[in-house]
Amino acid sequence: MLAIKLAYRNLVGAGLRTWLNVIVLAFVLFMIIWHYGILDGWNEQANRDMQAWEVGNGQYWQENYDPYDFFTLEDSHAEIPDVLQKATVEGIVTPILLTQASVYPDGRIQSMLLKGIKPDQKVIAIPSAELNIESEEIPAVIGKRMAKNCKLKVGDITTIRWRDINGTFDAAEVKIVNVFDCNVPSIDGGQMYIHINTLQKMMQAPNEATMFIIGEDYDMSEDISGWVYKEFDFLMTEMNEMMKMKKVGGSFMYFILMLLAMLAIFDTQVLSIFRRQKEIGTYIAMGMTRTQVVSLFTVEGAMHAILAVIFIGIVGTPLLIWLMSIGMTMPAGTDDMGIAIADTIYPVYGAGLIIGTSLLVFVITLIVSYLPARKISKMKPTDAIKGKIQ
């Protein structure tokens, strides 16, 4: 208690020197909280968007389907089983049929994944309702990335070519009826959505699907022969691993920032012990034990971290809240990385993040304050009183 009281007095008395250290530490603390907040916010947004647009609450895959092997697509569709047919009618799952195809925008050829989807589905956010539009051509919906790559826009008519289940090539005209804007590149780039019934006819695969996306309230207790259930967490594995990697990469920056802050504290402590030798001698002459003096210097150093947390609490909190409200605009082209990323990421600051980061900074500050303070215990008080460099 005495060490805390005296350390507080010393720090307040030291004025600018204290505040410079506190501001450096507070800046590091702020950067760590904010940056981790951005990553957490990104993670949350990506999870939310991927759930809403792509993975739903889980999926059933036809047993041959492998999303990393396009050659499996020919054999990875099967007749819709009764139980999923019933759920589809109820609107709690939606079937998707996939096949490889090519599109010919302006005479150029481009490979793509052709997806059949029910227009009346509400399980994922793809604006499929417009696939019901009456048209001579096949109505098709694409995402903004596909539209950009193929230079297509709403109303454009283009040719697509595909192979049916017998391997025969066929072609038809499609009309772009909607270009949707979403943050999930994996359902957009190189993909085109048409009515599932149309695609079934095109592939000569009536009432067949490659996968089912599960919505809310679906009971997944039943095993379905020929179909493999993929739970939500599995479908998010890649995304979560990527976020983990981002955090590890970010940690390197925090390490450097932390190192700079700790260097400032260490430097201050070392300087203090040389510059304040007379003071140390005086403490000892007045009856403080060496352990008390070492504790005082350690607490003094560690108190920088406490003041930094208080500083962040007072100055940083409104700033963090403001940054949370305006978010961080991501630079153009960021979504080329293939991760679901919104135009603006809103940071999320969890209690664990704030308390954990503050504790980490506190413990490290305590250690770097203690290390030079140990030198005091080796000082001769008679020399210290005179301020002799030892």
Partner: protein
């Protein structure tokens, strides 16, 4: 040891390593100091005054012999016990004042009482009393850098006296002061010695201090060459 004796120094030797050899700072000192004395250890530079004062103050250890302070052998004291002796019973006044630069006058004087875990109210009363003794109550909020040398030394005296120690050890307390300030400071210490019965032990070669002493112990080359009672001339 006489019952009345406050400090007994018995055949005290202190040697310091110098290069490959040794320098003998104190060589067979024998002394007794009684409560309430206003004593000075006098002698030229290098005679061993400060070393003797440091050993009495348990800041340093004897190489041979012993200094018994208030019944405690300083040679056998652990660091913790030595700190306790200093904290409770000893006050120090230094040539360069050694005030804590970031503290105010009030906080500097309060410091020894914080170490004694006194309550806030007790501390406040004791600090104001001490500042009253030295006549510096108008500067309680000033920091040492804002004070003159004389004022700093008065604060240092208040800090040494605030806990009403049994012994005050003053090492060249007037070395950085002009004549007028030196006399004022010494008169003040003499008054405190008479009123509070505090034992003052000075290490000095300053004539201004010497003429206030009631007992003068002369050191030369680490040996006591003269120990005499004197009449205070400074008043």
């Amino acid at each position: 040891m006489e019952q009345n004796t406050l400090i007994t120094i018995d055949n005290l030797v202190k040697r310091f390593p110098v290069g490959k050899g040794e320098f003998t700072a104190l060589n067979g000192i024998n002394l007794t100091i009684n409560p309430g004395e206003f004593t000075g250890i006098v002698g030229p530079s290098g005679s061993g005054k400060t070393t003797l004062l440091n050993i009495i103050g348990s800041l340093d250890n004897a190489t041979e012999g012993d200094a018994v302070v208030m019944g405690e052998s300083t040679s056998n004291l652990s660091l913790k016990s030595a700190a306790k002796l200093r904290r409770k019973h000893l006050g120090f006044i230094f040539q360069t004042y050694n005030l804590l630069p970031v503290y105010t006058v009030y906080e500097n004087v309060e410091f020894p009482l914080l170490l004694l875990n006194m309550s806030g109210a007790e501390r406040k009363k004791a600090v104001m009393d001490a500042l009253n003794w030295v006549g510096i109550t108008d500067k309680v909020k000033s920091r040492p850098a804002q004070l003159s040398g004389g004022e700093c030394q008065r604060v240092a005296i208040a800090r040494a006296m605030v806990k009403k120690p049994v012994i005050v050890l003053a090492d060249e307390p007037t070395a950085n002061l002009d004549a007028a300030n030196s006399h004022n400071i010494l008169k003040m210490m003499l008054k405190l010695n008479e009123e509070l019965k505090t034992t003052f032990i000075f290490a000095t070669h300053d004539d201004k201090v010497i003429k206030y002493l009631k007992r003068k112990i002369s050191l030369e080359d680490g040996k006591v060459v003269k120990d005499e009672l004197t009449k205070v001339k400074g008043e």
